[in-house]
């Protein structure tokens, strides 16, 4: 089991945002987490990455309990994510947005830095190469020197993914990567997700847009904080409970 969520519960005052959620993600798949607005999908991500602390339940990654680890430690263990809103370092350009994540794995210390030792220069060069690779893969080369906050929406979302990739994750959590995009941009993102998947990175993607399901191997449906269905995209499409959650339930 790669990522395993057991009985996860989060209570905000009187509201159960996530209720006894069990969820598994297998290594090497693209899993989808769908559900109507307010179903608790983003809260689930926040619980997995420790932005919020769960009321109850456990999160296990690679056989290790990470429920109460700090966010940055979880990122270092191999879970990176994007955010729905506020996804970037707005005052950095695209290249810096990506390379910042690499700096934490930079082994040069203050001494290396002050005296610009060979080791430091080598590390710098490596970071730049790796950053360029990611930027190239996601098609952001043309805008690499543009400030992130001046980018168009589609590019910002793409940059969010690039930045998450720079943390060198095994599991990538994407929070509504195609919300509010035009068809061309959607296609670019879907292609990017496929490329990331080909590199052996597992992807868990939130989308309440049903279009996303086509590229998923497996889809989990949430409503009112609970899992209501799980299966292949086709099964989910035919599931009556899911249909009523989307159409009749709201």
């Amino acid at each position: 089991m790669f990522l395993e969520v057991k009985g996860l519960t989060k209570r905000f005052g009187g509201l159960l945002a996530v209720n006894q959620l069990d969820l598994t993600v297998n290594k090497g798949e693209i899993a989808g987490l769908i559900g109507p607005n307010g179903a608790g999908k983003t809260t689930t991500f926040n619980l997995i990455t420790s932005v919020l602390q769960p009321t109850k339940g456990r999160v296990i990654f690679n056989g290790e309990d990470i429920t109460y680890e700090k966010s940055h430690a979880i990122a270092r263990k191999g879970i990176a994510r994007t955010f729905q809103l506020n996804p970037l370092f707005g005052d950095f350009d695209v290249l810096q947005n990506v390379s910042t994540a690499f700096y934490i794995s930079d082994t040069s210390n203050l001494f290396d830095m002050y005296f610009n030792t060979n080791k430091h220069r080598r590390n710098q060069k490596m970071i730049m190469e790796k950053s360029h690779e990611i930027i190239k893969m996601l098609g952001l080369e043309q805008v690499k020197n543009v400030l992130a906050r001046n980018l168009p929406h589609g590019h910002q979302k793409m940059l969010g993914i690039a930045r998450a990739l720079a943390a060198e994750p095994q599991l990538l959590l994407l929070d509504e990567p195609i919300a509010g995009m035009n068809p061309d941009e959607v296609e670019a993102i879907l292609k990017a997700i496929n490329k990331i998947h080909e590199q052996g990175i597992t992807v868990l993607v939130i989308e309440h847009n049903m279009m996303m399901m086509d590229i998923c191997n497996r889809v989990i449906v949430m409503n009112f904080g609970q899992k209501i269905a799980e299966g292949t995209p086709q099964e989910i499409r035919d599931n009556e409970e899911v249909q009523s959650a989307y159409l009749g339930g709201v």
Partner: protein, 335 residues
Amino acid sequence: MKRMSAEHQNSINKSKEKIAKPVLLAVLIAFFALFPLFVRSPYYLHILSLTFIYTVAAVSLRTITISGQFPLAHGAFMGIGAYLSALMAKFWGWLPLLCIPLSALATAVIGMLVGFLFSRLRSLHYAVGSLFFGIGVIYIIYAFPCTGGYTGMMGIPRLFQTADKMTYYYFFLVLALISIVALYRFEFSHIGTILKAIAQSHLVASSVGINEAWYRILVNGVGCFFVGLIGAGYAHYNMAMSPTAFNFMATLWLCMYVLIGGINSFAGPIIGTFFLFLLPEFVRDLQEYSPYFSALLLLIVIFFMPRGLVSLPALLKSYFLKRGEGERISNVSGS
């Protein structure tokens, strides 16, 4: 076509800047290095030494702010450095030159402890928390008899055997240069980049694996090290001091140096300190009125240079460019 030429112009301007900046810096450093050879007045040497001291304090304060936290205890940390060094030298009889780095290290450790304590506070809560800490430090200084309490501490051992102002002037010039270069390298290193990332969004920063609490603590340590260093130097230079030199008003003035110069630029606090320190010297005859001049400068910056004095060249440039363009247009229409 037009865009091409603009880009070309830009690259020329950039290469011009690349030469202009080091030249300007070299001229400034040479000016301050040669200054005592021409101006022997101990008074001016004293004023400039103080300016160097407060420049380091302001620059180190700004270094902490690049991580998105705004500490209001920096004056108090200067006081911690000053009092620790003075106490060590006075009561244990250690050499001042040894006490200064030691108390700088101690100040850094205290700064990191405070940073650790306050690491869960953000924005205004952090600022006010540190403000309370600063006030607390002053009360603690008052409460211990060995610090001299309200009357202040006197008889602090002198840094060098001599009372010659020129020696101290060079000491502080060199110390300030070293500190400023070190802080500059720190800010434009990968650690500085990580700190700036944390300032923009601590959520995103931790999502890519940045331990934001640790980096915020670290920058507190670095900022406090340099302010402690310069505070200790100040103690052995002045040989007497009272807690009022490090109270909240002192911290606030450090903040003003940073804000007047421009908080978004490394040169900001340096320019700000020099302006606020040297401006009143031109009206020295009106000594008790001199705060009015500082206040006036504040007002001018607030209304006309909201990004600080560093933005003045750019503002002037755009003003004259606009005027130039206007003239050109009127010429065209005239012909």
